[in-house]
Homo-oligomer: 341 residues x 2
């Protein structure tokens, strides 16, 4: 059994070792996650996504620094940064942009930075990230910044983890086309135009505002539409009369810190909105149900796989490819697991 | 049992009734699909997707007309059109834009048009669409045009059905931003700029060409990355040395038919490429494996659901939400199905 108490007591080395165990999906890591589960649920999970070149990493840095050194009268918050790069094979300590990141944050015991990389499937990466985020949450980090590189399904999956998702744009990225992606707007709670001192910032802002006007009200990804929705009850369905949140647009210049206090204020406003509207609780329930269904599907497939003879799947698939049996007949054969063969 | 022989013999009424049975996922529909399966696999499945306002429907019309009335020396081909609208609750005959569509095609026994709409989950829609496409294929239609409205996961799922996917753009749609989406380029085999007589066509073409240059070589969606990839062998993985297809950009004016013969030539060239490179076979195998895995996962969940007591899932989920148990413990409880409770 992993020393869960050490993690809960704030031992950074124990936490680092736990994160590695979670990434490697070891039995000890899984057991520790189960033991930590009752302690999680207090952190504000903030997703930060956007195309390469938007300055996401600098912005995440600055936000972390802001939470560590808030204006007078506010208490500093502990911050974890999870930097996820689906295209990178490197994982572990602080690999991604660590020199830039660490300059202001090095030696601060209230900050923990972890880089995550893909080791195969995006689904696996999303599951690992969920475990790492939960570990930080249980370990008492008040703010967890989840930074994702690129755009696509990985971002959507990871945004589903977050309470608040920032989508970062920047002027002048390939005629504003590169940066603005379908699906991304659907997950944005706050739109950030970073590098706002660049030419073309008005065009980027106008384009985003047009899209917001066109797209609003947006479908919310935290509504539960799991694979099992036709079988299992939609426990976490959001009510039709939910309060509407219109994503604000915040301009920043992360390299100088301009706009970062205002961005932190918008993030705090979104958290207040989530709590007041009941969405904080609903997102939590939806996240849990999604996690449960994913684990259940995996477990059912694994159990089935253990029960069938070796090469049975390959044999059935081969018959299917040769059109000797139909897909439904193949499934029936697979479910029987060779017992009637 | 459904009169499968009538469908194979070209009886349009029998086919229409079968399509309805497939959409309603009736036992008779499922049995008929199994019986038809050995007869499918000959049609060229062509996906056509793009944002609203790009003139996709007119283009699909014109393409169908072209295949029915080819240049001298070519044989006409039979054409099925499957128009999928994930946002519409209407399904059945020809609902979507039927008046425009039917003007040139009405009364032509070599054309069959079917509209499909969402009845719940997108996953369900993709599965229904796969069944309908397979029915057209088995019934002997040589070209199946699968038209999807909007952008997002539905398009990607449906593109996975097609051998050749056309992504349709048009000039002047919200500063060219609306129309060009992430993920869409990943699925495009051919890029079409429709409404090419509009101002701004050069900008759209330049933007597309820039994106192609940046993005190439693109990840191909027909590579198999199913949910079960870590459990089951990747039977359908594409080899690393596959021949590279660079998506061409074809300008059209669908309302006048300009560029449509050239587009049909590009489609034919893509088919030749698929067959020569072995990708025709690989896409077929990947499609089959995806279908098999989807059906297997569904079947495993359904079988599990039948075995557990009523309200057992709800009880376990409730304990999870109250943090009395962890997600892994919840899955263990669900797998035990209350037998040890």
């Amino acid at each position: 059994m992993f020393p869960v108490e050490d993690v809960l007591a704030g031992n950074r080395l124990a936490l680092a070792r736990l994160l590695t165990a979670i990434e490697n999906d070891t039995p000890a890591g899984r057991a520790a996650l189960s033991a930590l589960f009752p302690h999680a649920g207090r952190a504000h999970l903030i997703g930060v996504t956007g195309a390469p070149g938007t300055g996401k990493s600098s912005l995440v840095n600055r936000l972390a620094y802001h939470y560590r050194h808030p204006p007078d009268g506010e208490a500093p918050k502990t911050v974890a940064i999870v930097a996820v790069d689906p295209s990178s094979p490197f994982s572990g300590g602080a690999v991604l942009g660590d020199r830039v990141r660490m300059r202001d944050l090095t030696g601060d015991q209230g900050v923990f930075i972890r880089s995550m990389a893909s080791r195969g499937s995006l689904g696996g990466l999303a599951r690992m990230t969920a475990g790492v985020v939960q570990a930080f949450d249980a370990a008492g980090y008040e703010i967890v910044l989840i930074e994702t590189v690129g755009a696509g399904q990985a971002e959507v999956d990871i945004a589903r983890l977050a309470h608040t998702t920032l989508v970062v744009e920047a002027p002048g990225l390939g005629d504003d086309i590169q940066a603005i992606k379908a699906g991304i707007l659907e997950i944005a709670d706050i739109l950030v135009i970073n590098k706002a001192d660049r030419p073309g910032v008005e065009n980027t802002e106008r384009a985003l505002r047009n899209m917001l006007n066109l797209a609003h009200p947006l479908p919310r990804v935290y509504r539960h539409h799991g694979a099992l929705q036709e079988v299992l009850p939609a426990v976490a369905e959001a009510p039709a009369d939910e309060a509407i949140w219109i994503p604000p647009i915040q301009k920043t210049i992360a390299t100088r810190g301009d706009g970062v206090p205002e961005l932190a204020a918008e993030i705090a406003r979104h958290r207040t909105h989530l709590e007041a509207s009941g969405d904080w609780e609903r997102r939590w329930r939806a996240r849990l149900q999604r996690e449960l269904e994913d684990l259940l599907q995996d477990a059912l497939v694994h159990r089935w796989r253990r029960e069938i003879p070796p090469n049975y799947y390959e044999d059935v698939f081969s018959q299917l490819v040769q059109r000797q049996i139909s897909p439904r007949q193949a499934v029936d054969a697979l479910l029987n697991g060779g017992r009637e063969a």
